[in-house]
Point group: C2
């Protein structure tokens, strides 16, 4: 028979800290504290298996549970010298939930279980009726709510009415008689609402409380929280039953909470609050201002209340010593709760404390210096994603926020600026030195220069991988996407947020880390890359197996990427080079040309510009690998869309608007994602890739001569589904390389590879690897084709999926390991079977997602490539993957 | 040392009919005829290995070849009593190509090799100078062209000039002296053009001819033909060298060609033509009208020329006997060439004859009756695709055709009618009893009623799987797609074909079997499903393993499908039911509704209509399985597109046009193929599938009561990528089924399954099969997602793929076995691993393609489903697959 109940108290315990699967985090940590001899009120924990049994058996308990609970309760009685329901020395218990990981405030708990009319009288005799009946009414209120389904407000209302009727203002104004009267009113209301009297049998109370705590595992709030935090329903909650201790038993009593270090800065100083003669819930409720723990803190806060260090020096010294002992034992910064009951210190909880990223870094680095942990352990202590907080400016969490709307946190960081509604206005304003936020329903490649010019981007449509989001992340511009309650009227120049109408020039702030859109200017915190950050990154680099590159299209990107430690460029999207002013004209000339000769003439104009781009990139990367993807998007993306733009462009080009419209109509596609793009452009218009290859080789020759550094371009062909496509392009590239080598006298070493972004490419990876020297998994498109899901269109209906719990995670943010992941495994296997030394990387958005990076490490890719601002995250995540894998 | 030369003659031969890989079809059949004792001029064949060697070794011959050829030539000399180059009894030979399968007219041949100034004199002495020099000038002309690169026309011109100068009109007017003069002029011209004299050494001539015949394997015409007919370049051509015989040696000589049965009707009667005192090339040249072979034929043709049967009764009797013997030997209808040289019959060629589909059926069935072949063999004799000729009306091949354009043969059959440019006009004209052709740049679901009303559909955009093509094939309407040289000006009502401008009401004919668009009315042949057709289909049904179902959406479809022998409906697309007049209004109301209640109210109007549809279908199918696919397309497909339509629809619905525009804008998608459709609609709008499920179960209950037949609907959920999606829908369907069972008292047996049309569904097939009771491979969409290729957009750029030889076949027409096919294998394996009795079928366009059907049989699917008009093709192809697999 499996054990279901684990006792603790008086320096021994059945459980320990490693048993949080069975005992929940709270139960396990209490057992551990007890085990190492700390003062913990005795109690016992019903394991999570009870919870599983309960839901699997129509809300009933395992048969053996009753005896185990009775025995454990008796043990608590022996330690405390009190008996449950005893009218002389009664035992009261707290019944609390406990899941494997904290779910603060989500699950139920009931304190003071064991109180009834007889027991309250007994307590009154020893501690006074005021204390006794106050406790009783708190218990009734909680029990009625949690166990019997009588809303807390209903009883609260009775208390308010009683105070009004009797001229009392504060709870403390009530006498014992008042509380007694309130308790009677409460009991009457419960009886009326439920048709049964408030239970007087402490055992009935106990089992009622246990069942209610377990039931709360399935309440709606908890279910939502689990979904948000990836907590499996199957884990269940443990239930800890523990002898009550009271911080409100007079002047020698107190309750408090503390962090063993400063959770904002990480400074190694005890940090916390307490209240004398109070319950723990009062410390955190905000009704009374809590006092400082240490004299140092009191001096800083200018508080007139004595610090615990001064008011109760004995218990404080014991507490401070215990905090140190706990840190050494758990080797981490902790968050603890304590009670001092008539001079005696009790530890009620201890758990790993939440902390700011800055604090986390400092604590990890400090603890390595203190010898508490080693560098590998320190690396696992930091959530890679939390580093984003450090890399971008952020809205001061203390600042007032007037929230206009909340969209998707598409690109981290915050930005304040004047509203503009067009890329042109953004560029003009930036030129005039004004900070602007580009506000659009959605963006297209034509907006790129505006996105570069703006301090932030806000869209009302599109998801985390919409054009705006991808580009913004790529260039490190804060962005909020899909703020669908906002309405953009571009023609009128109006942005409507409910009743608020904003116009061009009005100031807003966007917080790309939370998705909030704020009215006006918000106070900001600047990024600070401290020495701790650099130290930790150094450890990460010496630990990780995976290489980390950046997706960088421009010299600015490349500089940021190198600054953040990228080891190369894993994806340079050449099409972005064609959208720049002056270039798009030549690009459009090419598209409008009727013949190959006409196209070649236009491409000849683009050649020197593209070559100059590559020269810049190669110089910045100084010999690091640069993977250049040849032109990918369909040609119609380069043509103007709106009638007004068509007229402007036609006039500027000196061609009839009809010509432009006709060409656009001819190029129009039902499903551009599945259309005439990528290598398909090279099959129909080989001269484009030919120009690009020439620009690459000529640039490499220039840099080889000027810097004396060998540039090794990796030329990547997108959208390959058949090896025949790649063969054709390789022939073309090899021919151009030979020609440039003859012309310049510089023979450039280069490799040719392909994106793996189509399911067919996955299946034919064995063939394709005969020609391809590297694969880069384009997991954005591969996710689209695997799911048959357009990322431009998915945001709307995937909400329904999330709401119905069908899709746990956005597959465009975190790699779908069951689908896309299997394809990566297949392609990796088949590619390596043909060419064992084939270089394998990933360049989709997933390259910057820690969970996906772990997968990439596991399947044995050589590197990940991500946006420049994600590079530190990827370095850390890669290190964690190595640590977890060994 | 491998043998390179295979001799034949005088009743023996080194080769036989099974050696066409080595000897080519011609060489193998000559060897076989010789082997069975038929009169064949002796000769020898250089194997295809000589060809392979030739191209692999810089156009040189294997070292041992010369000796083998000399020996074989000597053997021919022994049989004929003539020697090559001998001035008394000279041997002349024909040098002919021969690939494994016939490539008529593609490769070179040279006759009369061995003629020179000395030999011509010798022949002149025995056969007269006119014959001798005519032969010589023919030889020079051919040799100069094929071997020496002097254009045939250059020498032809010399002859024409000579005739003009000398007042001759016909070749027969020329005397021996004239021919001698012409020969001299020819030789002079050759010498002038090539800088070398015409070769006089017969061995030089022979090797020149052999090399030229081999080289012709690589000429451009042959390469194109090979690509079109899937003939590998590696096969190469054999070369047959054979003693010349002459049908132009006087009144007892003749040349002729014959089919052993009538190639149009299949009737068992010798059918052919001959000319007395003529060469074979003259019989087929058209300069002289050939005469009939048999007296019966002569009487029918009212010819005044004697039949061969009468003019040369002895050789004829021998020839007729040989034809019978050949048929018994080859067990097929043959196409033969013969020469009668001074009363002696020689067989020059025999091969399997081309025939009409009608003839092929009759011959196959007759030969089974005659005991020549068995039924299984008969089944393999018919090209399944050729059956299409029988199922649709066709343009009389004899009729005059004024071709306006040639597009893609998108849906077979021919149709004549007045041009209309809108679905509305088509419907109105059909209502008025006029035949119309609906002409559009492309079609959308709103055009469906017009496509039903029209006799044929013509589009200027889109490929073989464009909307127009798919719908047209589905409903059996002839269709030509992507006739891109045509221009449709819908506003003006003008169709422009080059200089021809046609307007609404002008009559055109489209031939959906060839892709031709013809001006005016063309003569038609009606379909005839003869008894032979039924006999063969019966054999096919008793032989095949695969089931054959039809894709049928309407009662009309279902009736056609049953008429063609479908064993059920494999795909009923319910969305087509919503486009019908009266229904689309309710559908649009649902789409415009703001709330679930509003949607339910609109759906309630659709329920009785949809139920009635299913009642009809179930009644027609009378207990056969019906697979119903729940709504698949995105909702925006049901909204009007053009501004004019929007205004009309808004007025009709009584809603502001802005409302409709706003909704359409909200629903607009970048990539509808990858958008909010299929099961995704059910996740966001479960009430739609709920209505559909109710309609199905209520209809099944109605039919169960009225017909007493148990209807077993197979409910198919489209676009599933995760089992969770299917689970949700299954719960909904099961709930509706239980409710309808309670209400009607009829419990309907049903199964729930899914389309496998996304790569992710393939990978997760094991999970999905936990819920799905059947899989139907939706290979249209699976091909799109596997390749990342939009079939609506692919037509344009896949031309470049075809031109560069990258993609051998349209993957939307013939299954991509290397990509999509591997997915079918994977899903089949994983699905069966979970659920061994899972039912597996295919319902994409490939279900009607013979090559794809063979694949489906091989991977073990249970059935294929195709358009009704493809059902007979699928039945035959399935039978052939079974035969090939055993």
């Amino acid at each position: 028979m499996t054990r279901l109940v684990y006792g603790f108290g008086d320096g021994t315990s059945d459980g320990n800290a490693r048993m949080s699967d069975l005992l929940g985090d709270k139960g396990a940590d209490l057992a551990e504290m007890c085990r190492i001899g700390l003062p913990v009120p005795p109690g016992f924990t019903l394991s999570t298996e009870v919870c599983s049994y309960f839901f699997a058996h129509g809300h009933s308990f395992p048969p053996s549970l009753k005896d185990e609970v009775e025995a454990a309760l008796a043990a608590v009685g022996r330690i405390t010298g009190r008996q449950f329901g005893d009218a002389t020395a009664p035992l009261l218990v707290a019944v609390r939930s406990g899941s494997r990981t904290p779910m603060p405030g989500m699950l139920a708990s009931v304190l003071n279980v064991g109180l009834n009319d007889a027991v309250v009288a007994a307590i009154g005799r020893t501690d006074g009726d005021a204390f006794a009946f106050d406790s009783y009414r708190r218990f009734i209120q909680a029990y009625a709510d949690v166990v019997m389904g009588v809303e807390r407000d209903e009883l609260e209302e009775i208390l308010d009415l009683y105070k009004d009727d009797n001229g009392h203002l504060l709870d403390t104004d009530l006498s014992a008689a008042d509380w007694r009267a309130v308790v009677d009113l409460y009991k009457a209301r419960v009886s009326e609402a439920t048709g049964q009297p408030f239970p007087q049998d402490p055992h009935v109370q106990l089992w009622g409380a246990i069942a209610a705590v377990i039931r709360s595992w399935m309440n709606a709030r908890a279910a939502t929280y689990r979904k948000l935090h990836d907590i499996p329903e199957s884990w269940g909650s443990a239930v800890t039953v523990q002898a009550m201790v009271f911080g409100n038993r007079g002047e020698h009593s107190a309750a408090g909470v503390a962090f063993t270090r400063n959770p904002s800065t990480g400074e190694k100083l005890l940090y916390g609050e307490y209240l004398p003669d109070a319950l723990g819930e009062e410390v955190v409720s905000g009704f009374r201002s809590p006092h400082d723990l240490t004299e140092t803190a009191r001096q800083l806060s200018l508080s007139e209340h004595a610090a615990l260090e001064t008011s109760m020096p004995g218990p404080f010294a014991r507490f401070a010593a215990i905090c140190g002992e706990l840190e050494r034992h758990f080797r981490d910064m902790l968050d603890v709760e304590f009670v001092i009951e008539q001079g005696e210190l009790w530890m009620l909880q201890c758990r790993r404390a939440r902390r700011s990223t800055k604090a986390a870094l400092r604590i990890a680095v400090d603890m390595v210096a203190e010898g508490l942990i080693d560098a590998r352990e320190a690396l696992t202590r930091i959530d890679p994603l939390s580093l984003e907080q450090l890399l971008h400016p952020s809205v001061d969490p203390e600042a007032h926020r007037h929230i206009l709307a909340t969209g998707l946190p598409a690109s981290p960081g915050a930005a304040t600026g004047e509203i503009v509604f067009s890329a042109e206005d953004a560029a003009a304003a930036a030129h005039a030195g004004r900070a602007v936020i580009l506000v659009r329903s959605d963006t297209s490649p034509e907006d790129i220069h505006g996105m570069h010019a703006a301090k932030g981007v806000l869209t009302t449509r599109g998801g985390m991988t919409s054009h705006a989001a991808v580009v913004a992340r790529g260039i490190g511009t804060p962005c909020v996407c899909g703020a669908s309650v906002l309405r953009v009227d571009r023609a009128q120049g109006i942005l409507t947020a409910g009743a608020t109408r904003l116009k061009k020039g009005d100031v807003i702030t966007i917080d790309g880390s939370t998705g909030q859109v704020l009215l006006g200017r918000a106070a900001m915190l600047r990024p600070e890359l401290t020495g701790d950050f650099a130290t930790l990154m150094g450890w990460a680099d010496s630990c990780r197996r995976l290489g980390v590159r950046a997706n960088a299209d421009t010299p600015a990107d490349a500089r940021v990427a190198r600054g953040f430690g990228a080891e190369g460029i894993g994806l340079c999207r050449t099409e972005h080079m064609f959208f720049e002013h002056g270039r798009i004209v030549a690009m459009r000339e090419m598209i409008l040309a009727d013949s190959e000769d006409g196209r070649r003439a236009a491409l000849a104009k683009l050649l020197p510009m593209q070559r100059a781009d590559f020269v810049d990139l190669f110089e910045i990367m100084h010999g690091l690998p640069v993977t250049i993807r040849l032109l990918d998007p369909p040609l119609h993306e380069f043509l103007p869309k709106s009638p007004a733009d068509v007229i402007d462009v036609a006039a500027a080009m000196g061609v009839p608007a009809e010509r432009l419209i006709e060409r656009a109509e001819h190029l129009r596609e039902e499903n551009p994602m599945l259309g005439h793009r990528g290598v398909r452009l090279a099959i129909s218009h080989p001269e484009i890739y030919e120009m690009q290859a020439r620009a690459i080789f000529e640039a490499a020759a220039v840099v080889a001569k000027s810097q004396g550094v060998a540039v090794v371009p990796e030329i990547m062909v997108p959208l390959v589904g058949m090896v025949e496509e790649l063969d054709l392009v390789k022939t073309l590239i090899d021919r151009v390389a030979a020609a440039v080598a003859r012309e310049t006298g510089v023979s450039v070493r280069y490799s040719i590879g392909t994106m793996i972004e189509l399911p067919r490419a996955v299946l034919r990876a064995g063939d394709i690897a005969r020609t391809a020297e590297f694969f880069s998994f384009g997991t954005n498109d591969l996710t689209q084709t695997t799911y048959g899901l357009s990322r431009d269109d998915a945001a709307g209906f995937l909400e329904a999926y999330a709401a119905r719990g069908i899709m746990a995670k956005d597959p465009f943010a975190t790699l779908d390991t069951e689908g896309v992941g299997e394809f990566i495994r297949i392609a990796t296997g088949r590619g390596r079977a043909t060419r064992p030394d084939i270089k394998l990387g990933i360049c989709g958005e997933h390259g910057g997602d820690p969970a996906s990076i772990r997968f990439c490490d596991e399947v044995g890719l050589d590197y990940v490539s991500c946006s420049p601002f994600r590079v530190p995250i990827a370095r850390l995540a890669a290190a964690q993957a190595t640590i977890k894998g060994t």
